[in-house]
């Protein structure tokens, strides 16, 4: 785990995500970032390097690092949005468009702290990617299409209609999370402040420590 800054809060995220994001940041203008597939052999090499804790090879490009981020997201046990909590996200995704962000903020707070931190960190980064959509063509819609299947529990149905509705729902939710990620660190900070006021003993530092 490493400390990263999100708004005024310091949050903890798995080191691999920070390493990979640093690589992606070197070429944020690459067309189809997070959409286009990388070379499989390269991706495998990156995973092996990270597993061993070695330094990243120099010739890794943004596309492959982005693919590996998605791969790691899929491999998080219990998903970034765990099954039991996903139900709340689905409900939030169905509320009136003007209320979605507020509903989602509440849902995000239901996440286990580690997931919450990673969520805040990733959504902030994905938002940064969409700011370059003039070059990389990854608008929040496109980012949401490629990110959503990797953060929600896998959903399968033989009914095409049901399958499509579910895809659209997770898309709406992810898009909203990416577009309004700025509120997340604020919500997080507000929560931490409240806890601190409630109990002076609970400093944000020890609060995070107990989860790491």
């Amino acid at each position: 785990m490493v400390n990263v800054q999100a708004g005024s809060s310091t949050i903890q995220v798995p080191k691999v995500f920070r390493i990979l994001i640093d690589v992606v940041k070197t070429n944020m203008k690459t067309e189809g970032l997070f959409r286009v597939e990388g070379r499989k052999t390269k991706e495998k090499a990156i995973v092996e390097t990270l597993d061993k804790g070695d330094n990243m090879p120099d010739d890794v490009d943004a596309i492959e690092a982005a693919s590996v981020i998605k791969k790691f997201l899929r491999n998080i046990s219990g998903n970034l949005i765990p099954t039991d909590i996903s139900q709340w996200f689905y409900e939030a995704g169905k509320v009136a468009p003007t209320k979605i962000d507020e509903a989602l903020q509440l849902c995000v707070l239901l996440l286990p702290l580690r997931n919450l931190h990673l969520m805040v960190y990733l959504m902030e980064f994905f938002n940064e990617v969409t700011k370059q959509s003039g070059s990389n063509k990854m608008t929040s819609q496109n980012m949401a299409v490629v990110v959503a299947p990797n953060i929600f529990p896998e959903f399968k149905s033989n009914d095409l209609q049901v399958q499509l509705e579910m895809s659209n729902l997770t898309l709406t939710i992810t898009k909203s999370l990416i577009e309004h990620q700025r509120d997340l660190p604020t919500v997080l900070a507000a929560l931490t402040n409240k806890l601190e006021t409630l109990n002076e003993e609970v400093t944000s530092k020890s609060f995070y420590k107990c989860w790491s």
Partner: protein, 215 residues
């Protein structure tokens, strides 16, 4: 003169399912959009899950209904795809001629199709985006060779410039089971196109229409 097949005495619509496969952003949706509406959406849009469209076509005095299944190239949806392959008579495997990786991964898609359908399927390998010739990474000969080895049809297209897309569907129709292309000489469906050496430029005025790439 209309010849009715004994199987279809009432001249019922024969239905065929076509599934479009390939990596992300190779142009599966664009190819379908070009065929269905003869248009090109310059907006770069990732497909959500799986989508399908139908089109009735007239071919060799026969009316057939084509169901085009557009799949998202995303990893997570891969597990869903075999069930769509299983129901399909045609698999269109698309790669981007400016992206060698997307070409190399076509063999995986073809293997998936063969393992589900064996030889009971028409497989077409399609190299799209020939309008970006200057960025080409996959030589035509290389793809031709692979297609021959794997015994699949092969064509290069540009969905953006409407180059060879009709030809692609004509080739598919000719290869469809129960549609004998030699039965009639006249071809009312899809005029034969004379292939130009250079694909036509799209006249649409749009920034995204420039011939450029990031290589």
């Amino acid at each position: 003169m209309i010849t009715l097949s004994p199987k279809n005495p009432n001249h019922n619509l024969k239905k065929y399912k076509l599934v479009f496969l390939g990596e992300q952003s190779v142009g599966k949706t664009s190819m379908i959009t070009r065929f269905m509406y003869d248009s090109f959406d310059p907006n770069y849009q990732a497909t959500i899950g799986i989508d399908f469209l139908s089109k009735t076509i007239y071919f060799h005095d026969r009316t057939v209904r084509l169901q085009l299944w557009d799949t998202a190239g995303q990893e997570r949806f891969r597990s869903l795809i075999p069930s769509y392959i299983r129901d399909s008579q045609v698999a269109v495997i698309v790669y981007d001629i400016t992206n060698l990786n997307s070409f190399e991964l076509t063999t995986r898609w073809i293997e998936d199709v063969r393992s589900e359908r064996g030889n009971q399927v028409v497989v077409v390998l399609v190299g799209n985006k020939v309008d970006l010739e200057s960025c080409r990474e996959v030589p035509t000969e290389k793809a031709e060779k692979l297609a021959k080895e794997l015994d699949v049809l092969f064509i290069e297209t540009s969905a953006k410039c409407s180059y060879n897309v009709k030809q692609l569907f004509k080739r598919i129709a000719e290869a469809l089971p129960d549609l004998d292309p030699d039965r009639h000489e006249d071809n009312n469906w899809l005029q034969e196109v004379t292939l130009e050496t250079k694909p036509k430029k799209n006249n649409q005025k749009d920034d995204n229409n420039k011939d450029y790439c990031f290589c």
